[in-house]
Structures are given as structure tokens and as C-alpha cells.
Symmetry: D2
Subunit: 356 residues, 4 copies
Amino acid sequence: MEAALRALAGDEDVAALFSDAAALRACVEAEAALVRAQGAAGAAPVAEADEIARAIEGFRPDPARIAQGFARDGVPIPALVADLKASLGPSRGRRVHVGATSQDIVDTALTLRLRKVAEIVAARLRAVDDALAALAARDGATPLMAHTRMRRALPFTAADRIAGWRRPLALHLARLEEIAPRAFVVQLGGPVGAPAKGGAVGDAVRAEFARLLGLGDAPPWQDARDRVGEFAGWLALVCGTLGKFGQDVALMAQDEIGVARPARGGGSSSMPHKVNPVEAETLVALARWASALAGAVGQAMVHENERSGAAWTLEWLALPPLCEAAAASGRLAARLASSLSLRPDAAAAAAKEGTA
Amino acid sequence: MEAALRALAGDEDVAALFSDAAALRACVEAEAALVRAQGAAGAAPVAEADEIARAIEGFRPDPARIAQGFARDGVPIPALVADLKASLGPSRGRRVHVGATSQDIVDTALTLRLRKVAEIVAARLRAVDDALAALAARDGATPLMAHTRMRRALPFTAADRIAGWRRPLALHLARLEEIAPRAFVVQLGGPVGAPAKGGAVGDAVRAEFARLLGLGDAPPWQDARDRVGEFAGWLALVCGTLGKFGQDVALMAQDEIGVARPARGGGSSSMPHKVNPVEAETLVALARWASALAGAVGQAMVHENERSGAAWTLEWLALPPLCEAAAASGRLAARLASSLSLRPDAAAAAAKEGTA
Amino acid sequence: MEAALRALAGDEDVAALFSDAAALRACVEAEAALVRAQGAAGAAPVAEADEIARAIEGFRPDPARIAQGFARDGVPIPALVADLKASLGPSRGRRVHVGATSQDIVDTALTLRLRKVAEIVAARLRAVDDALAALAARDGATPLMAHTRMRRALPFTAADRIAGWRRPLALHLARLEEIAPRAFVVQLGGPVGAPAKGGAVGDAVRAEFARLLGLGDAPPWQDARDRVGEFAGWLALVCGTLGKFGQDVALMAQDEIGVARPARGGGSSSMPHKVNPVEAETLVALARWASALAGAVGQAMVHENERSGAAWTLEWLALPPLCEAAAASGRLAARLASSLSLRPDAAAAAAKEGTA
Amino acid sequence: MEAALRALAGDEDVAALFSDAAALRACVEAEAALVRAQGAAGAAPVAEADEIARAIEGFRPDPARIAQGFARDGVPIPALVADLKASLGPSRGRRVHVGATSQDIVDTALTLRLRKVAEIVAARLRAVDDALAALAARDGATPLMAHTRMRRALPFTAADRIAGWRRPLALHLARLEEIAPRAFVVQLGGPVGAPAKGGAVGDAVRAEFARLLGLGDAPPWQDARDRVGEFAGWLALVCGTLGKFGQDVALMAQDEIGVARPARGGGSSSMPHKVNPVEAETLVALARWASALAGAVGQAMVHENERSGAAWTLEWLALPPLCEAAAASGRLAARLASSLSLRPDAAAAAAKEGTA
């Protein structure tokens, strides 16, 4: 996403996690943890492993070379490992990437960042909830007209409507608690995902690898993408809830209803009198966008054999914008909830007219 | 889905749950439980409520009249309630549908059936897992060639590959345990989803309503569709896992690989020598289909106001085929896993050739 | 789709085209044309070919047996051809299905029905356009308030808005004219889609086959699904346009705007005062549904090798509901356009209020 | 998309068209053409209009300020026009953006770039076709085994298979010829899309505007997104065809089949013997990705009222990656087709084994 559109509908924090630099940093972090884990698990001398791990952590890959390798190999790791080994020299280099394959590093490095995405999105969901709680405390008594099937239904209050917006937020946070132990786990399966085959590391190394990275331990999942798909589904679910909030605000902000006026809003190049509910509309766009992206991740679950270049590449295309959509939705929704006024005067007038 | 295609890619058990007759039965069951709950909660005389509930349970709606009402009202309940009241007479009729609106009945009746879908799919996942366990016990020692990115990678065993197929199954069953308390709950919110507004029933009636139907109790969620979306996501995730299994088998069944020959298979109208891996291919088709359908449910999360006719109708279109896809995937995968042979002879030959 | 939901959001005419009976009739029609074409092209004695073709046309397949065969073979044709040959006897039977494979019959039989779908949808688009022209002639002078980004923008007239609804309709009809020669062509490629390989018929037979069925002639496309995908895209485009019309009417029908009141509308089971814009909402649902279904057809374009059971089955799942969605959208939009009143009184009041 | 992933699955040429700088350049180009058109159409003094247009063409907007405005207004134009007017001074500034609204500039500037995308993709389709023609000329006589439903079917030749890959390419180019006059047209409708309302320009200015920009002339389509949707559908169709080519090559490149070995291929970080069919796999990923993105554009067709901020933003999110996917598919497919060898030796061996 380019900078201008990102300013509206993207998120700098998540974009930074998926930058070339951050992706390489996470891969380097995983390679370092792998060496250190071999020391901790007794598969290599501890002191040597730690020394090499520190050297790896200090390694600064050349992004242009890695991009070339990515285009050639379909994955950035062969080029990265070659450069890393070259920088360490043959003696230390032979301890690098032992028992691992490209996917172990890429999937683990991805997971490190998905976990941060989850933290960002969760924090924003809590901010949305806090802002809505404050809104309910201040404007909750405002009489509103409930609408069903696009028609006036019966009077209720702002508190009723806000309660409806808030309920799914707590459920989303509860879902994340359940998903996290499945989603945020290391991948370490060696060339074909079968432990102890083809030089794959043992369970002890994998457990240390997980502990060092602060991720959960799990058997290889390189070709079973339900962990990724479940988290993608959660992100889209979050966007859906926030898109519903945005849709409601956009409808309430209609001049003819006039119940909610966004404090902030977009100007028009031809109609100076207009204040557009830009945040609310963008939430709707992001919900639909996230659903389409989650669908692409869903298609990537048909991951053939022990590793599918096609399905895996499809994830790479869809996951970053999906993460960004969820974080952007959270940021926009928190800002919208904070700035929203459910004005008693307009609302009362609208409600009165409706029951007349 | 018509009968012939259903024989291949559908499921009679789930289709029966979404038949007109079953949909009406579930609505009638919900209406009866609502009356009985009012008795149990002290909102109506117990004996009278029970008697009316029994009468409701004996009511047989006229499907053609309901369909007409559906086309007119966009929802089947106004016609159903009118006919039900007419059949009960005015005295008993005034106890019917008290505090409820169409969506309460339709969503609760849907949930009653989604819970049964979950039971069907879970049972089939267990059957797939059992069949794969038996396959591993019998053929697990067979040497196979692992494949990554469509190329031979390294030798491993049938047990390794089967373990990869099985791991997500246990996770799916664990997910369902977590999802169930959120997904299988009554909806009872009255006209605008706000308890105690517009004649909505109190919490005690709702709790009894839930208890009588064997569903969980929850505040109104008529316009917060994350509960539905989460379950739809689970169904698609299940189909994705089974589609990956099907894709692998279809690849293993290639003549040039010849590792897995489906015991059953489809004949050709022009090439008598062919045995096609029909079950495996259908699993792939269903995984992609389920992902598209879950995407439609995702779009329906932008559910405007207190009730969106547009978003709700979209769910009705997408959920039944999605449930059917998951059940069909489970049935086909269990059958495929049971009939599959990972033949030591062919596999050994293939593995040997690859390492030569 | 079950009967009750079909009454709202489906279409009996298109559903009839995709019934088991109609599917088999179309397959039988194709088999008969194939025999007759061999006579006409000099590949079989004319009189014998015509006599056999008439016998085929009189053949009544047993749907239950075909469904069994479908489930076994992944395609209905092997069972159909076997039964057909048995009914004709060996001497006449050897002229049946010559040079053809299952896909030739299934794809050609599908195309015969897609062409009818196109005719149905086109007729309804013309009906929508006629109804909107009449609406413009009657209510076009009504002053309305244009809305952009959910806010009042500037006054315009009903004629302006109706012109916006109508413009894409003519474009859709023009698109269909261009698509038809690509989309409505016979498939006849024999076992592997290569003419003159494996007993495939020659060009002359295929040209006669096309002529007899009233379809275009084209080289085999059994594994190149752009013809199907293009038509699916057109159907979704049509639904999108009509969904926009529905969305606009639903917004105009809001009580607070009150510009458009649907003459017909749905009743509520709990709020007798409500008239819901059911047709308009259903159009929105169908547009989103059609887009999801077209996406499934898009996924089916990755059609591996000379025939993909997986990709082909995915088309079978998605195309019938997509066709039904487009026809239902056309029917609902025509009815909505015919019944719509852009009332000068309400509109004037709304416009006045907005410019005050 | 970040740089490393773009090196594999993206396209620099199309990415450049959607950069912030290129987007602003296209907007400035449209603003200049609008002033010049007013001169040419007699709505402003010609010499003054031309002088102002040249000044506009020399204007260099500040991307950071525009991005801020984008985030605030939901659209970049108010900030751009304000800065542009400030740079021109009040006398010349009053000629700027006359009769136009933000969407006129954004949609026209988008169209200018979509047309270039079409040219890029069309050129690559022709390159794919040329490379496949050369491949057929060189290797066409190679006997191959056709595969249906993942099984060996009958022998045919490389020429047969290549002919199947090529057929849709010519159709795609023919489709583009038909689509272009609908898709590549100016948008100029003023604030609410109704000519001559709210200060909109007359038909003569719009015709000149179109002529100056080399686009077609058309009545306003700001809220009728079928033109955009049709082009998006074409891009996805192209990707589908090329994804099928990639899928076939990936299957043919399997060691056990060995018919096609990509000249280039990706290396593995753990298995030095492997050469992965990275281009072929990426084509499959891009086809599925494009289908998901086209689905998002499809959802954006439900474009409410005279301008939908939600639907329009959704297009902005989905269109650039969709264009990039199509261009990348074309580039990868041309490279793959050029480097592909359908080796007579391997193919003959495979075919012989199959018919034994």
C-alpha cells in the first residue's frame, strides 16, 4: 500500500512489522535462536552456540541481495543463510541453520510478527471498548430510535445501541486468548516437516527454540495451515464487528437522521458545507476488504504435499494487508468512538418525529 | 443443490436439517419453548403455558403459505405466527410469540440446527482421525518420498505423512469445544434487541428458553454476527484441512507416483482403463467452495442498525451450503481414509527411484 | 436452495434449468445431436444416425441410477451412456457417444442452459430498464436531494438518479452481445481435448453438432475455463448493478428520508406499523452473494491438466446459484422498479429541508 | 507490497503507476486537462486556459501534505486543489477544478493508469503467446501423455498441450478490445454526477477533457462501477489462465513425470539437489490472489447513493494489487514459457511407460 492510502486506510505500526527490514530482522532473530537452542539443548557447545548466536544477531543482511534471492528461490532464506554463513566463516557457519529449512525460519519469523499484530489489535479493541464505555456513560441516556430493516422500529437509548457495539469486543478478546496458544508457536520441522528425518532437530532443540523466542512449542505445521487460517479468520471477524460499527455511525450521521455527528470528518473539494464521515466509511471498506483477504488465506489451506510454494506465496500476499486492515480498523474505530457525540438534542428530535 | 450433485458433493443429513420442513419444525419448537419458558419463569401460568406449548408442538404449518409469506415479508415468521395464532384461537394465541420478533425465532431455530451440524461434522472428523490412525497402524512403515514445492525432497514414511494429516483434526475438535458456548446460544431480544424495550422478555424467560432448548443463554446478538461468523470460519477451516488431504491423495494417486490408489474411484465414459480419484478431487473442490461461502458470511457481518434484511438474507444463502460442504467433506474424507492403501510395493519403488 | 428461501431470493425459472431432470434432458439432447451430427457430416449413414438420434431423444433416464453413478464416477455420463446403450441395443449403441467424453456432454449441456439463463437475465434487464423509463417519465421532475458519502450534497431530480440507475443496464446488454459468441459454444474434444486424438471427432462433426444445438462452434475448451469465467463475471456484474439500485432504494425508503416508499413490502411479526423494503434488501444480498459465487468460479480457472475433477466440480457448485441469483435480481429489480413511487410530496419536503 | 515480495510476485512497472508520485501526477494531469478543455470548449479564454494548464502541469505537490489531507478528507483532492490554487494565486486559481469534484479527478486519474496497466498486460500476453508459439515450433512434436482427473489418459503431443494454453490468450486480447471503450473513459460529473447540476460542466467541456487525455467520453459513472468491475474481471480472468499454465508446468515438472524442467528454478536452503518451479507456483498463487481481489472489487459495486466513500475506498485497496498481480503473472508466464523445455527424451520415456 502506498503512503497516501496508508494514511487513510492502513497502519504504520503493522506496515513496519512487514517491512523488508523487519522481515529480515525476524529471520535473523530466528536463526540466532536456533543456534542458541542447540547449545541449550546439548546439541552444540553452549559457549560456542551463544557466541555464534550473538554474531548472528549482529549480522545486517543486504536487502537488495535478499530480494534477488527471493525472486530466484521463491523464498528469502537460501540467500540469507549463504550470506550469513559467509560472514561467519566456515567454522562458525556450520552451526547455522542446522536441522532447519527455509520454511522453519520464514514461518517462525512470520509468527513472531503475527503475535505482535495480535497485541496491537487487542490493545485497540480495548481502546474501542473504553471509548464506547465512556460514550455510554456520557450519552447513554439519550433516547434514540432503533432501526430494523432500514425502517424506524421502536425507541430505545444510546446505551442500548452502544451495548450492542461493545458485546462482540469482549468476545473477540476471549477468542484471542484461546487462539494464541495454537497460533503463536514455532515451526521447526526440517526439510520435510518430519522430526528426526533429514537432519531435523530433536524435540529438545525445538522446545528451547520456542522458549527463547517466547512462542509456544508445537509439532511441525508447515503444511497444515489451520493455525494461520484461524488467526486470519479472527482478524476478519474483528474487522467485521468494527465495520458494523462504522456502518451504523455512517447511517446515524445522515443529515436526515442527524443523531451522530463525527467530530472530525472529511471535506469536499466542491461542496464546502459537507463534513463526510470518513472514518466510519473506511471501517466499512476495511471489513469487506478483510473478508476478501481472509478468503485468500482460506484458499491457501489446500497446501499440497510437505510444502506448497503456491499456497505459501498466496499467504504472503494476503496476510500483511489483512493484519494492516485489522490494526487500521482498530485505530479508526477507537478514534471514531472517542470523538463521537450522540447528541441528546438531535436524537430527541429524531426520536420524537418517529413516534409522532 | 439438486439430487445428483448432492450425491457427489453434498450431504443428505445436513440437507435434511435445512429442508423447508425442518426449518419450520425448528421455528415451531422455538415458539413452543418460548411459551413454556414464560410459564417456567413466572410470566404466565405454568399449566396454561405448558398446554399451549404442547398445542404449538402439534401444529403443522402449511409450507406453501409460509413460502408466500417469506417472499412477501422477507422472513417466514409473520405468516407462521399468524397461522399458529389462528389455529390456537384468540385466548391461547395471545400467549404466542410474546416478547419475540421474527429474528428471535429464526436465529434460534438456525442455531438449533447449526449445533446439530457441529455434531455431525465433529463425528466425521473423529471418523477421519480413526481411519487415519488405522491406516498408520497398518501402512505407517511404508517408505515414502516427501515432496516440497512439487519436487521430490527426502524419504520419510507413510506414518510421517499421516501424522501431518491428523494433527489439525484434534485442533479442530478443540476449537469447536471453545466455539460452542459462544455459537450455540439462544437469540431473544424482542423487536429491537434491547431487553425490556418494546415488550421484550426479561432475563429469566430467556434463561428458561435457553434451558428448554438445550442452548446457551446470551444477551441479544441479532445484529452482532460474530457468533455466526466464527462458526462459519470453523467450518471452512475444517474443509480446508480435508481439502489438503484430498489434494495430497490426488497427487499420490498419479500413475507416475502410484503411491496411493483409492480403492474406489470413478470410471470414465471414454477411457475404460481409468480409475479417477473422485473423492479426493471433490474434497479439494469443497475446500475452495467452503472458503468462498465463508467469505459471503464475512460480508454479512456489516449488519447495519438493529437488523439488516440484506446482511441477514446473505447469511441464509451462504450458511446451508457451507454446512453441507463441511459435512460432505467429513463423509468423503472418512471414506477415503478408510479405503486408502499406502502400498509398500509402489511406495518403495517410487522412493527408491527418487533417491537413485 | 429450499423452496421457502427460493420464494424470496431464488428463481423458479433458473432453478428449473438446473433441476436433475433438466440436466439429464440437456445431456440426452447433446448425445442425440452428436449422433445426428455424425450422419450430417458423413461419419455415419444419415438415415441410421437420424433414427438413433430420435431413439435417444425418446430415452428417459432413471435419475436415481444416474445419481448413484454421479457419486461413484464424479460425473453423470458413464452411467447415462451405459443405460442409453443398453436401451438401444448393441447395434445402435455403438453409434452413441462416439468420439466424445463425459466432459463434452456435460459442458455442452451446461452451455445449452447457460444460454437460456442469459436470455432470462437479459429479458429482465430490459424489463428493469422499461420500468425505470416509465418511472422517469412519470416522476422524473420530482426534486430530490443527491447524497454523497452518506451526506446531503446538492439538489437534483428523480430523473437524474434514474438515469444513473439505467446507464449500466444498456452496457450490460451490450456486453452480453459480445460475450455470447465466446460463451455459448459447444465443447467437443474427446477424451483429452485434442481433436483427432484418441478417437475424437473431426471438425465437420463438431460444426454440425454446434449447428444442430444452435450453439457456436469452437475448438475444445474443456480445460480453459475463461469462457465460463467470463459469463460468471457478467452475471455478478449484473447483480452488482441491481444491488446498487436496491441499496439506493433501501436508503431512500428510510422513514427519515421518505422519498421512496416501496408499494409492496414485508410485514413484521412484532411491529405492525412497519413496511420493510424486502425487495431492495434482497437485491443487496444477492449482489454480495453473486460476487462470492463468481469468486468460486474464478478459483476454478486453475484447472490442472486436460481435465480437473476438482476445478470442474467447483464450477458445478457455484454456477447454478450464481445463475439463480442473477435471474432473481432481475425479477426483483423489475418488480421494485415497477412499484416504486418517487413521491413529489415527500421528496420535495426532504429536498426543502436539506437546502434550508 | 514490500520490495522483497514484489521481486517475486509483484511488478515494478505497475507498482510505479500506483506510487504516490504517479497518482499525484495523474491527478495534476487531469486538473490541467480540465482547464485546457474549458478553453477549447469556449468556457474560458483559450490563451488563459492554456497558460494556466501549463502552470498546473509544472506544479509539484507535496506528498506529505496530500497524505495528511487524504487521511482527513478520505480523498486526496481537497488538499491538492487547495495547494494548487494557492500556488497559482487567486486570479488563475478560480479557473481550477471548475465544475469538477474530487471523484472526477480521482477516477479519471485512475483510468489513465488502468489504461496503461491494460497495455502492459496485453503486451505480456502477446509475449507469452509468442514464446509458446516458439516452444510449439521447437518441441511440438514431442509425444506427451495427457492427464485427466490426475490420471494418465491418452498420448498426445506437446503441440496439443501448448495449443490449449494459447487459445485463451487470443480471447483475452479480443476481450480487451471490447472492454477498452467502456473502461477507459473520463469521469466528469461534478458534485453529484448530474451534468449541468451544481455547476457541472457541459458536454462540450467533457468531450474536450476526454480528447486531451486520450480517453473515451462517457456520461458520469461515478456511482456505477460496472466499468471498473468489468476491467477487474478481465484482469482476474487473465491471471486465471496464466495460473492454469503455471499449475500444469508445476505438475509436469514433478520428478516422477519429468516432462518439463524449468530452466530457472529456486534453490532450497536445506536440500541442495532441488530446483523448485518457483515461477510456475507463483502463477498459481497470483491466480488465486487475483480472484480474491476481483471479489473485493465486486463487493464495491454496491455503491450507495451518488458517491460511496466505503465502496470507493474498497476499490482503492483492491485495484492496485490486482493490476500488479496481472502484470506479474504476464511477466512470469512469458519468462516461464521462454525458458521451458518439453524435452523429447523425458517425455518419450514418460509416454512409453504410460502406455506399456
